[in-house]
């Protein structure tokens, strides 16, 4: 948060200004501080949201659901992807599903490519992972290292849940975890990387690692 404490403000004022500046600040201490604080709150995006109560309720309802397994924010988005794969794989159209993703995201990848050309390949990983809103929910956390991202696979446990709670009753979700890696994540990221103009090395696992190659 862009805020400033009373002590920090005084320190900054004393460090940055000369005697006259300090005198000026001391002459208007409360006003100056109040203005700064008002300014910082006014510009604080998160605090100015008027839908935070809905967000808190969503947090509560999600994390208070612990049976039959603990729900997380990636619960629903993960299920939507797994359900799509369950639809595509038996029909043999999973490659088309990946191609559709790459084609429909092409303008976005083009934008990332421009920033890679300007600022370097790290921008590719930022654009594919931590800077996309889908990943806010999909990846519980992302470990960021230069040239590398790693995150807990959101699909493994959820596919097991789908098999246990749904598949065993109606024969759906017959595919395996490696299919999620090999028929979705890996080709989708590699396809995106090609559009962006970089190469990736992907090491799937419970902690999936994606590196610039």
């Amino acid at each position: 948060m862009d805020s400033i404490s009373r002590r920090g403000f005084t320190e900054k004022a004393l460090k940055g200004g000369g005697a006259l500046a300090v005198l000026t600040v001391l002459a208007l201490p409360e006003k100056a501080m109040a203005n700064k604080m008002k300014f910082s709150l006014k510009n604080e995006r998160f605090l100015n949201r008027n839908d935070l109560s809905d967000a808190l309720k969503s947090l509560y309802t999600t994390y208070d659901s612990t049976a039959p397994y603990p729900h997380k924010f990636n619960e629903t988005i993960t299920k939507a992807v797994l359900s799509a794969l369950d639809f595509c794989i038996p029909l043999g159209i999973e490659k088309d599903y990946v191609d559709h993703y790459i084609t429909t995201m092409a303008p976005v990848f083009k934008g990332i490519k421009l920033s890679v050309e300007k600022d370097g390949p790290e921008k590719a990983l930022r654009g594919l992972f931590e800077e996309t809103t889908t990943s806010y929910q999909l990846f519980e956390r992302i470990n960021v290292k230069p040239g590398e991202r790693s995150f807990p696979c959101p699909y493994k446990g959820k596919l097991d849940d789908c098999k246990e709670w749904i598949g065993k009753y109606n024969g759906t979700f017959k595919y395996e975890w490696k299919d999620v890696c090999n028929k979705w994540c890996v080709p989708a990221w590699n396809g995106a990387a090609k559009e962006i103009g970089v190469k990736l090395e992907i090491i799937p696992g419970e902690e999936c690692r994606v590196k610039l190659a």
Partner: protein
């Protein structure tokens, strides 16, 4: 503690149990025999979670994103649903896509909802379909609850319009989301338990049991 929190009406865990027990001893026994139905609700164990920090960070990351529009919890999920639907429509498989999604959830509906309707009344179908399912915790920012009726702000419209006006690679329009996804899926669910629903799509979408 509320099973679902709503500005107008809420059903507490206690009042829900009361309602269930009020139907009669045999009915309450039947409810108890619905395997897993009770323990699948909110269970007041949030304070025992050791991953709350991750949840709170996700909340802040999501709601700190206000440009180009204020991002909400449903953003990622809605984008995946829209992408899936656009793919299915382009393939001419939207009916199969909606039917597949409904059929994956059929075991839950058969097992829990169908058995509960004779005991608790048909409103339990809407309860199960909307406020009870974990998909709704993120998808619907809030749900207005009336007996035999639910209304929800459409989570798809704004994001699809933004997507179509900026990226412009989807062929689907908002009406496709209503007619090729939401309505057929909900109608499939209703058919599974021999109920009929009326859906009035809109920025606030209304679903009524008929």
């Amino acid at each position: 503690m509320n099973i679902y929190i709503n500005d107008n009406k809420s059903v507490s865990r206690r009042s829900f149990t009361k309602k269930a027990l009020g139907i009669g001893f045999l009915s309450s026994l039947a409810v108890m025999n619905l395997p897993g139905s009770a323990d699948a609700w909110l269970d007041e164990k949030i304070m025992e979670r050791d991953d709350l920090a991750d949840g709170i960070k996700e909340l802040i990351k999501t709601y700190d994103t206000t440009s180009p529009y204020p991002v909400k919890f449903y953003d990622g999920l809605v984008r995946v649903h829209l992408r899936n639907l656009d793919f299915a429509v382009k393939k001419g498989l939207h009916k199969e896509h909606a039917d597949h999604y409904s059929s994956t959830l059929a075991p839950m509906i058969e097992k829990y909802v169908k058995n509960a309707i004779p005991i608790m009344g048909k409103d339990i179908f809407l309860w199960a379909n909307f406020e009870r399912t974990s998909c709704s915790y993120q998808l619907y920012e809030h749900i207005d609850i009336k007996e035999n009726e639910r209304s929800v702000p459409c989570p798809f419209k704004g994001i699809l319009e933004y997507q179509n006006s900026t990226v412009g690679t989807y062929s689907i329009k908002w009406g496709d989301v209503c007619n090729k996804w939401c309505i057929p899926v909900w109608e499939n669910f209703a058919n599974m338990v021999q109920l009929k629903i009326k859906v009035e799509p809109g920025e606030t979408c209304r679903i009524t049991l008929v």
